[in-house]
């Protein structure tokens, strides 16, 4: 595959499309044997078998079977990761990069296969899936480049007060990290956390999402193949496996997922005699602020793409618009016009823009939200389940006229569901934009420099975009944006994909040594 894709890509060559379809069909057939764990370099098939069904088909089409790790399996995986710590951290940064470059190359060669598995398990469109597979490669590359470019693997020569001493400041790995992945980017986010942990010198026990076990397994298989035994282990299973991992003897946790689970994890792990690091990236209630001078075509386009791409299941999805009353109706009409054109389909349909949501629970959440919207506001587009589509499909939905502070404008839904709130000044817009607990991404559309400056100064969000037609709040790419959520959206103030992420997997050691 020579084409390079990202989350703003709009078309594929026919060759790539055909290759994707084959990979999708292959992945839907599933492997015959249930997905296995990887411990100490070897496959392990212990634990009851659980299944995952294709969200884009009528209920019952199993795409993946996998073994759910027992407590004993988790214990052995953690023991293997702990035993491998010494050998792995003894390598130089450059040596670790060499190992990871092998994975980078293999990911690159297997992009279409990876995309097929992602689509089979999540139902996401081919553009989104191939974009994700591309991101997998770029994530490893970005972090490997950073290690190569950091002077002496993150060591700093300090001032010296005593001529008989040398003083160095090092960043050293914590040890073994538990890595807990989400379903929405089941391959890329497993790679994001695992590759960073590994390159920083930690060993890893990866637990992929139970809603996309094979995507995570594929990532784990490739990463494990190119590092020494025990450095990268994989355990599969539901939330309680993640729980067991978090409570185990790991030295830190990297988590991507919902804020509820993430903050529980943080609080629980902080309750011990000392707090282990928890690098958590969580959801958002990401806002697009539209001023009275905005280019409304660009705003409508950027909002629609960010709100409905991946059916609203991106952490950075736009789920709120706050707009000046002077342009409210015009903007709403333009977004609604785009919603009317969006094609909702399974990934085998080349024209699909929106796929299904992940499961029946998400559909139920949608139905409840739609009911609330009908009761307390007005549904301008969507609001129902589409006719004639089997699987967990819901219509992209645009809601207006909700009272200020309504829960639909405050709580994350993780659905193709966007609310529009009308205000009378730009300052009111910023206040409303900041009135949630989240602070991941935000966008502004305005032609007035003062408004843009005010937005940049006041918005409580880590990832901000100005007048971005290709995505009001979404589209972060390794090495280009960082994914640094503020407030409830992130635990560390530093984000994946960015220049400060690797350092979060390391702790400082100041060394004063005698000059020999």
């Amino acid at each position: 595959m020579s084409e390079r894709l990202n989350y703003a890509s709009k078309a594929l060559t026919p060759d790539l499309s055909a290759a994707f379809e084959l990979a999708l069909a292959d992945a839907r057939d599933g492997d015959l044997a249930p997905v296995q764990h990887v411990i100490d370099g070897g496959p392990v098939a212990e634990g009851e078998i659980f299944t995952w069904e294709d969200p884009a088909a009528a209920p019952g089409r199993v795409v993946t079977e996998a073994h759910a790790a027992t407590p004993d399996v988790v214990g052995r995986a953690v023991a293997a990761a702990r035993a491998a710590r010494k050998g792995w951290r003894a390598l130089t940064g450059a040596e670790r990069v060499e190992h990871l470059r092998c994975s980078q190359r293999e990911f690159d060669e297997r992009k279409v296969e990876i995309a097929g598995v992602i689509s089979a398990e999540t139902g996401k469109s081919r553009l989104e899936a191939l974009g994700e597979a591309e991101e997998v490669v770029d994530l490893v590359k970005t972090y490997a480049d950073q290690v190569e470019q950091s002077p002496e693997s993150f060591a700093t020569r300090m001032n010296t007060a005593d001529p008989g001493e040398t003083n160095t400041d090092l960043l050293r790995p914590y040890g073994a990290f538990g890595v807990i992945g989400p379903f929405n980017f089941p391959a890329a986010l497993c790679v994001n956390m695992s590759a960073a942990a590994l390159l920083a010198g930690n060993t890893v026990v990866l637990k992929p999402s139970a809603k996309a076990p094979r995507s995570g397994a594929l990532i784990g298989e490739v990463l494990a193949k190119h590092v020494p035994a025990g450095v990268l282990n994989v355990v599969q299973g539901h939330a309680y496996v993640g729980q067991a991992l978090a409570e185990s003897d790991v030295d830190g946790i990297a988590f991507t997922g919902s804020a509820g689970v993430g903050w529980d994890l943080l609080r629980n792990l902080a309750a011990g005699p000392y707090a282990k690091p928890v690098l958590a990236e969580m959801g958002g209630k990401n806002v697009a602020v539209v001023g009275r001078t905005a280019d409304l075509e660009a705003a409508a386009e950027g909002i629609a793409r960010s709100a409905f791409g991946l059916s609203g299941q991106k952490c950075s999805a736009c789920s709120r618009v706050v707009v000046h009353s002077a342009v409210h109706d015009d903007l709403v009409d333009r977004i609604a016009a785009r919603v009317a054109e969006m094609s909702l389909a399974a990934p085998e349909d080349p024209g699909a823009f929106l796929g299904p949501v992940i499961d029946g629970v998400a559909v139920a959440r949608f139905e409840r939200a739609a009911e609330l919207a009908k009761k307390d506001g007005r549904i301008n587009a969507g609001g129902a389940r589409p006719q004639g589509l089997e699987g967990h499909f819901v219509q992209p939905t645009l809601v207006t006229d909700l009272p200020l502070g309504h829960e639909l404008t405050r709580e994350e839904l993780f659905l193709p569901f966007v609310t529009v709130t009308c205000v009378d000044s730009f300052q009111e817009a910023l206040d409303e934009a900041n009135a949630t607990n989240y602070g991941l991404s935000a966008g502004v559309f305005s032609r007035e420099q003062q408004e843009i400056d005010d937005f940049l100064d006041q918005i409580d969000a880590g990832v901000v975009y100005v007048n971005r037609r290709s995505g009001a709040t979404t589209g972060a790419w390794p090495g280009i944006q960082s994914f640094c959520g503020w407030k409830a959206s992130g635990s560390s103030g530093k984000g994946g994909l960015g220049p400060w992420y690797l350092q979060g997997f390391m702790r400082e050691q100041s060394r004063t040594l005698p000059v020999s």
């Binding site: 015959l32 044997a33 249930p34 070897g42 496959p43 009851e48 078998i49 079977e65 073994h67 004993d72």
Partner: protein, 390 residues
């Protein structure tokens, strides 16, 4: 009121499953007598496969219970249960049709995973296999295997925790049966009194039956298994593969994963084809002829395993009843004795159901899996000895 005193003879999988099920009811004072050490008989010499790929609803039900039981131990008690999956190969379309019926029967019992694989699918699952003379397989992805020694010891621990007493180096030497039905047992550790005695003595069950004045015919059959050393790791967990055709009278090759560079292999048969061995003096190591037979069978079934070599072999006992089904329940002529014997080559996977059944008989309930009239009903040995007498 004091509890009924039950003494279980035999510290193998059957004896300890029985002891555990009884102790958990809290109605009995349970003692297990083992002549050597826990699991020193067949139970530590087994391949430990637990699966449900059988053809009758009865055979499936008792195994489904077994699989759930060991699954529970894996989730909660730290038992290592490797769910590597199980494949029963088919040599003709009639077998595949029988497999379809098995799948339907398994579904009725809540086991939804099994499916029929055609030849190419089996080859995808096990790239090293050659199936030129086979048409497909019945595949149970949730089936697995465990270590018989560890399993039996875990059952013993759990039985103790539930209140049972375990006496090792305590062979039953003789027994007096009083008129009121109670027993006085002579053992190497002294005399013990019992209201009920359970014969779970595996390959020794016939002898123990004679000592108890409750005869039962169990033929100890010697069976071997061997280690296959791989030249390189496979990168996947090898499922258990059974290439035995039930009723054919010929032993069939089976093998399974053991660890990253080892398989275990053996020859299985459910009919009693050989003459009985003496469980005290049989040859416990592997024979050369067996290694040769396995080498030949593996070369034709797994030609892709280049460079694999055979490691050490061992032999153990299948305790076989005359009709190849376990004998479970009250002895027809001596109701103070319960039988838990004759599990043949299936005693690990059947041990949970056998223990449960004995416990149900003793608590006065109708056994839920294998009661009177079922293929395991001990009453049938009275009929057969009657026919033999005529």
């Amino acid at each position: 009121m004091s509890k009924t005193r039950v003494i279980v003879i035999g510290g193998g999988a059957l004896g300890f499953s029985t002891a555990l099920h009884l102790a958990e009811t809290d109605e009995f004072e349970v003692t297990v007598l083992e002549s050597q050490h826990i699991a020193e008989g067949s139970s530590s010499r087994s391949i430990g496969i637990v699966e449900t790929q059988y053809m009758s609803s009865f055979d499936i039900a008792v195994r489904a219970f077994g699989l759930r039981f060991v699954g529970h131990l894996a989730e909660n008690e730290g038992l290592t249960l490797n769910r590597n999956g199980y494949l029963r190969l088919a040599s003709n379309d009639a077998a595949l049709e029988a497999f379809q019926r098995s799948i339907a029967l398994q579904r009725e019992q809540g086991i939804t995973g099994p499916r029929v694989l055609i030849r190419s699918e089996v080859e995808k699952l096990i790239p090293q296999i050659s199936l030129h003379d086979r048409v497909g397989a019945l595949y149970g992805p949730s089936d697995g295997y465990l270590d018989g020694h560890l399993y039996t010891n875990l059952l013993a621990d759990l039985a103790r925790r539930a209140g049972a007493t375990v006496l090792q180096q305590a062979a039953l030497l003789g027994a007096e049966h009083a008129a009121d039905g109670t027993y006085r047992l002579q053992t190497r550790r002294g005399k013990l009194a019992a209201d009920i005695v359970v014969n779970a003595a595996g390959g020794w069950a016939g002898r123990v039956g004679d000592l108890l004045d409750a005869p039962v015919e169990v033929k100890p059959q010697r069976h071997q298994a061997i280690t296959v050393a791989l030249s390189q790791s496979l990168g996947y967990v090898m499922p258990s593969v059974m290439d035995y055709v039930p009723g054919s009278g010929n032993p069939g090759l089976y093998f399974r994963h053991e660890n990253i560079d080892k398989l275990f292999a053996g020859l299985h048969i459910e009919e009693a084809v050989e003459s009985a061995a003496d469980p005290d003096t049989y040859f416990q190591s592997g024979d050369q002829w067996f290694a040769e037979q396995i080498a030949e069978a593996l070369a034709s079934r797994l030609p892709g395993l280049e460079g694999a070599g055979l490691g050490s072999g061992w032999a153990g006992i299948y305790p076989m009843s005359t009709d190849h089904q376990p004998i479970v329940g009250p002895h027809p002529e001596n109701p103070s004795v319960l039988l838990a014997v004759g599990a043949g080559g299936n005693g690990i996977q059947l041990s949970p159901a056998i223990g449960k059944t004995v416990s149900e008989y003793l608590t006065g309930r109708t056994p839920s899996l294998a009661g009177p009239g079922s293929p395991w009903d001990a009453a049938r040995i009275a009929r057969s000895s009657a026919t033999a007498a005529n």
